[in-house]
C-alpha cells in the first residue's frame, strides 16, 4: 500500500519484433505493462502510473503519471516498433516526469523493460544510477529479449548504483514457454515487500492460467477478505449443521417414529413458519439433503418449537426438540432420508386427507391433484394441520 508514482519505460525498438516470447516480444511486454499498471493502481488508489517509449524517433512520454487505468491502457494501443532504444535518455526523462508529479508525497519509481542490447557503457549507467539514488528514485529492471554479452553485468551495475535498502530490483527473464507477465508476477516487482499487488497478481495469474485460483471459494482473500471470510464461515456452519442433522437422524432411527411430520423448513418459507408445513414437508422431500435444507430445517424447527413445545430454541438442538415431539422426530428423520416419498419408516402417520387437501387447495400454487402432493398427503400429520390453522396460508411453495 505504499503511495507511489511509477514511470514505465517501454522498449519499442526493432528487436521487439522477435518471436521468442509468445506472440512476439513487444506483445509480451505490453501484457506485462498492463498487469503492472493494474496492480499498482489497485494496491493504492492514489498511486499514479505513467508510460514512455524509449525507441522510435526518440524518447516519448505517452502518458504522464495518472491514476486513470483506462488512459494508461489506451495509450498502449497503436504503438509502433522501430528504432533503437536509448536507455539513458529514457531513464532521465522518466526521472523528470516523476519530479513533476502532482502529489509530492508519492515515492518515485521507474520500471525499465530492457529488451534490446545496451549501447551505453557501465560508467554512464552507474552515474545515472547514483543520480537516481540521490533523488530517492527506485528502479526496477526487467532484463529480457536480447542476451548480449555484458548486458546482464551492465544492468546489475546500474542496479547496485541505484539500490538503496533493497527498494530496487532486477529480473532476468529468459525466452521460454512462460509468458513474460507470468514470470513477473512472482517477482518483487509485483509483490512489493511481500504485500500489495499479490492479490491482484494472483487473480491475474488465475485468469491467465485459466485454472484453479488456489482459493477455496474463487474469491481472493486479498481482494475481498470480508467476502472470503463470510463464505468460509457459512461453509463451516453448514458442515456443522449437516453433521448435527445426520447425528439426529441416526438417533431418531433408533427411536420410535412418532406421528408428526416435522414441518421442516423450506427454501423460502422459513419466515412464514409452520403455517406452510404441508407444502413445506412436500418441498422438504424434494430437497432432501440439500445444504440449505439443513439450515432451513433447523430454523423451522426453531419456529416450530415456539408453538409446539416450550423449551428454548437453539440452533443445533434439534434432537432435544425431536425428543419432546415424536412427530417432529419423525419429520426430522424423514427429512434426512432420500426416499422420503415412500414414507416407509412412517408407521403412524395420520392422514386426515380431506382436511389437509382442503388446506392445500387454499394454498396458492399448490395443486391438490398433483401426484407429489397426493404422495405427501399420505404422510401428512396432525401437527401440520394444527399449524395451518394457526397461521395463514403462506404464499410460496414450489413443488
Amino acid at each position: 500500500m505504499v503511495l507511489e508514482a511509477t514511470m514505465i519505460c517501454i522498449d519499442n525498438s526493432e528487436w521487439m519484433r522477435n518471436g521468442d516470447y509468445a506472440p512476439n516480444r513487444f506483445q509480451a511486454q505490453a501484457d506485462a505493462v498492463n498487469i503492472i499498471c493494474g496492480a499498482k493502481t489497485q494496491s493504492n488508489p492514489e498511486n499514479t502510473v505513467g508510460v514512455l517509449t524509449m525507441a522510435g524517433k526518440g524518447v516519448r512520454v505517452l502518458v504522464t503519471p495518472t491514476s486513470d487505468l483506462g488512459k494508461i491502457l489506451a495509450c498502449m494501443h497503436g504503438l509502433e516498433i522501430g528504432g533503437e532504444m536509448n536507455l539513458a535518455a529514457g531513464i532521465q526523462v522518466a526521472q523528470l516526469a516523476l519530479k513533476h508529479r502532482q502529489n509530492k508525497k508519492q515515492q518515485q519509481r521507474i520500471i525499465v523493460f530492457a529488451g534490446s542490447p545496451i549501447k551505453h557503457d557501465k560508467k554512464m549507467l552507474e552515474m545515472i544510477g547514483r543520480k537516481l539514488k540521490k533523488n530517492s528514485v527506485a528502479l526496477d529492471i526487467v532484463d529480457f529479449g536480447e542476451e548480449d554479452d555484458g548486458k546482464p553485468e551492465k544492468l546489475e551495475a546500474l542496479l547496485s548504483a541505484v539500490n538503496n535498502n533493497d527498494t530496487s530490483h532486477i529480473v532476468h527473464v529468459p525466452a521460454g514457454p512462460n509468458a513474460l507477465s507470468d514470470v513477473l508476477i512472482n517477482t518483487p516487482i509485483f509483490t512489493r515487500d511481500g504485500e500489495g499487488g499479490s492479490g491482484f497478481a494472483a487473480a491475474a495469474a488465475a485468469a491467465a492460467a485459466g485454472g484453479v485460483s488456489g482459493f477455496d471459494f474463487g474469491v481472493d482473500p486479498n481482494l475481498d477478505p470480508e467476502l472470503a471470510l463470510a463464505l468460509r464461515v457459512s461453509m463451516e456452519e453448514e458442515r456443522a449443521r449437516q453433521e448435527a442433522a445426520a447425528k439426529k437422524a441416526a438417533e431418531e432411527a433408533a427411536k420410535e417414529k412418532g406421528g408428526e411430520q416435522q414441518p421442516a423448513s423450506q427454501d423460502t418459507t422459513m419466515t412464514e413458519g409452520p403455517s406452510a408445513s404441508a407444502s413445506e414437508a412436500e418441498n422438504k422431500k424434494d430437497d432432501l439433503m440439500d445444504d440449505e435444507n439443513a439450515l432451513l430445517q433447523r430454523a423451522l424447527a426453531m419456529s416450530m418449537d415456539d408453538t409446539t413445545s416450550s423449551h428454548d430454541v437453539r440452533d443445533t438442538d434439534m434432537s432435544e426438540a425431536a425428543a419432546d415431539d415424536p412427530d417432529l422426530q419423525l419429520a426430522l428423520q424423514l427429512s434426512v432420508q432420500d426416499s422420503a416419498k415412500e414414507g416407509n419408516d412412517v408407521s403412524k402417520l395420520l392422514a386426515d386427507q380431506s382436511f389437509v387437501s382442503s388446506i392445500l387447495a387454499t394454498l396458492p400454487g399448490v395443486d391438490p391433484n398433483d401426484p407429489s402432493v397426493k404422495d405427501l398427503l399420505a404422510s401428512m400429520q396432525n401437527q401440520s394441520e394444527k399449524k395451518d390453522e394457526d397461521k395463514g396460508p403462506d404464499g410460496d411453495e414450489k413443488k
Binding site: 519530479k99 509530492k104 547514483r130 543520480k131 539514488k133 540521490k134 533523488n135 530517492s136 538503496n164 535498502n165
Partner: protein, 176 residues
C-alpha cells in the same frame, strides 16, 4: 547589535527548532541510518556521535517547513573537521527543490563555513532576505576536505517569530 553578534546569539533570538513542522521535513541524499533528526532535533543534535550523513555523494538537500512565519537571524552548522559541511546555500520559501534545479535559483544566502563555524560559532545571515520565511531549504554543496561523505552533527536555526494571532486569546463577542 554588532558587538553581540560576534560572540553569540542576540538576546531576543530564539532557537527555531520548536517552530519546525516535522511532518514536512525532507532530506535528499541522506543515509538511511544517519538521517536528519540526528542533526536537527533537540537532544540528538547535541550528541556529537549522532550525525547526519550523505549517501550517494557529498551533497545534501534539506527542506524545512515551519509551522508559522519566522525571521531568520543566524544558523549554526557543526560537524567533524574533515567531513563537516563547507559551502551551504540557503533558499527561503522555495518548495520541493531537487538537486537538478538547486542551481537554477540564486540562493537567499550562501555561507562558507570556516573552522570556527564548524566548531559551533554561528554564521550570521543576511537578515533582510529572511524576513518572511515559511520554509527553508538548506543545500550543503561540499565539505571541508572534499571527501565522499559529508557529516553534519548539528544544524540549528536562530531567529524570531512574526507576530501572529494567539487563537487562545480570541474571545467570542457577546451579543447584547
Amino acid at each position: 547589535m554588532s558587538a553581540e553578534s560576534a560572540s553569540g546569539i542576540q538576546k531576543n533570538q530564539v532557537d527555531l527548532v520548536d517552530f519546525i513542522d516535522w511532518s514536512g521535513v525532507e532530506c535528499l541524499n541522506q543515509s538511511t541510518v544517519h538521517s536528519f533528526p540526528n542533526a536537527l532535533k533537540q537532544g540528538y543534535r547535541e550528541d556529537d556521535g549522532l550525525v547526519l550523513e550523505s549517501h550517494a555523494d557529498e551533497q545534501l538537500l534539506i527542506y524545512i517547513p515551519f509551522i508559522q512565519v519566522v525571521k531568520l537571524h543566524s544558523i549554526v552548522v557543526t560537524g567533524p573537521e574533515e567531513e563537516g559541511p563547507k559551502t551551504v546555500k540557503l533558499f527561503a520559501n522555495r518548495e520541493h527543490m531537487g538537486f537538478s534545479n538547486v542551481n537554477d535559483f540564486p540562493p537567499s544566502d550562501t555561507i562558507i563555513l570556516s573552522e570556527d563555524n564548524i566548531k559551533g560559532k554561528p554564521s550570521i545571515l543576511k537578515y533582510v532576505k529572511f524576513q518572511n520565511v515559511r520554509s527553508l531549504t538548506i543545500f550543503i554543496e561540499d565539505n571541508q576536505s572534499g571527501s565522499e561523505i559529508t557529516k553534519a552533527q548539528k544544524i540549528a536555526l536562530h531567529g524570531t517569530t512574526m507576530e501572529t494571532t494567539d487563537m487562545k486569546g480570541l474571545k467570542k463577542i457577546e451579543d447584547h
